[in-house]
């Protein structure tokens, strides 16, 4: 994985619709166990179409809009570069390729699901994919990880959601309000 571009490095020129479609197709078919880390990998690290910061911003906004996060993020990125047509290209790439693959896999799975090794392999993959998700979240935390208040807020949001089972929307409202207040006061 190459280092993400920092603020000093110029991002690449704006991708066209075909490039958007191909990038999201690649994301779709390589994304095992959750597609968001792969959006990050391919759009930020590989194609360098967005800075780390921009990606974090887009994800923040997309979490607050109803809808599957990764779909929202892809649509947002497509729209940002090429308007509605770009959004459609990104969406079609993200969903189309994996949908075909999944329907084929589904047919195979109905025949082979009773084989214990198939289940074990899937289990092993999903465990590693979970770790990949954590790695991406930690990478996104880099810009604020030296700020104790920001880290505290991050942990609080994670605990409210994971252990106290607050709905995402409430966590976003409560922790978000605190975060914005801290940010306004210049503490973040």
């Amino acid at each position: 994985m190459t280092e993400a571009p920092d603020e000093k490095i110029e991002v690449r020129p704006i991708p066209n619709k075909r490039e958007l479609f191909m990038a999201f197709l690649k994301i779709g078919v390589s994304a095992f166990g959750g597609a968001l880390p792969w959006v990050h990998r391919i759009i930020v690290e590989e194609r360098r179409w967005l800075h780390e910061r921009d990606f974090n911003e887009i994800l923040t906004v997309c979490q607050a809009v109803p809808g599957p996060n990764v779909v929202n993020t892809s649509v947002f990125i497509g729209a940002r570069f090429r308007g509605i047509a770009g959004a459609l290209a990104a969406f079609a790439g993200l969903i189309g390729g994996p949908l075909v693959l999944l329907l084929v896999l589904n047919e195979l799975y109905q025949h082979f699901s009773h084989i214990a090794q198939v289940k074990s392999a899937l289990k092993g993959m999903s465990v590693v994919a979970t770790a990949y998700f954590v790695a991406m979240a930690l990478k996104m935390a880099k810009p604020f990880r030296k700020n104790a208040l920001a880290v505290l807020l991050c942990v609080a949001a994670a605990c409210l959601s994971a252990f106290l089972h607050w709905h995402m929307a409430f966590v976003l409202l409560a922790c978000g309000a605190i975060g914005v207040a801290l940010s306004k006061a210049g503490k973040l």
């Binding site: 979490q63 809808g67 969903i95 959601s161 994971a162």
Partner: protein
Amino acid sequence: MKSDSLLFDMAFLYVTLSFLCIGGTIPLVPDMHRFFVDSRGLMSTNEFAGYIALAQAAPGPNILYVALFGYHVAGIPGALTTLLAISAAPFVMVILVAKFFARVHANPWREIILCGLAPVTVGLMLAGCALLTQSFRGAIEWAIAALALAIFLLRPKLHPLLVIGAGAVLGVGLQL
């Protein structure tokens, strides 16, 4: 005729649910279970859970499990119906938000709000990871996950698919 009205009902279900899924669709799974298993009897709980597991294991957005539900009920038209129904409203909303966002580019509040929300975003992602670890059944899984995380952080140039493939091999070897 029966399948037409089923398609319509599935479309209605997912358009409704799409407005409720802030952050993720997993909290909405019980609603889908009620529709497909309890009230309509279109599939068994085992089939229902199997589809979610399969979509998570296969490449692509996890949300594709809704396409498998649709496919089970009404073939390819069913798969397209559920997928487009859950994506349509968010698609429009995101386009509007993206436009609005570009317009407030120079507004200082934009920076303040995004900076304040960034830690919350990462926190919610970590919470999503915690949810995924609930399927871990023992110390072996935790050990593999820890090892994989160390590899991802320390060897960022290694292609993640190699590590995920190694996970599959370990899974078979250790009979997870």
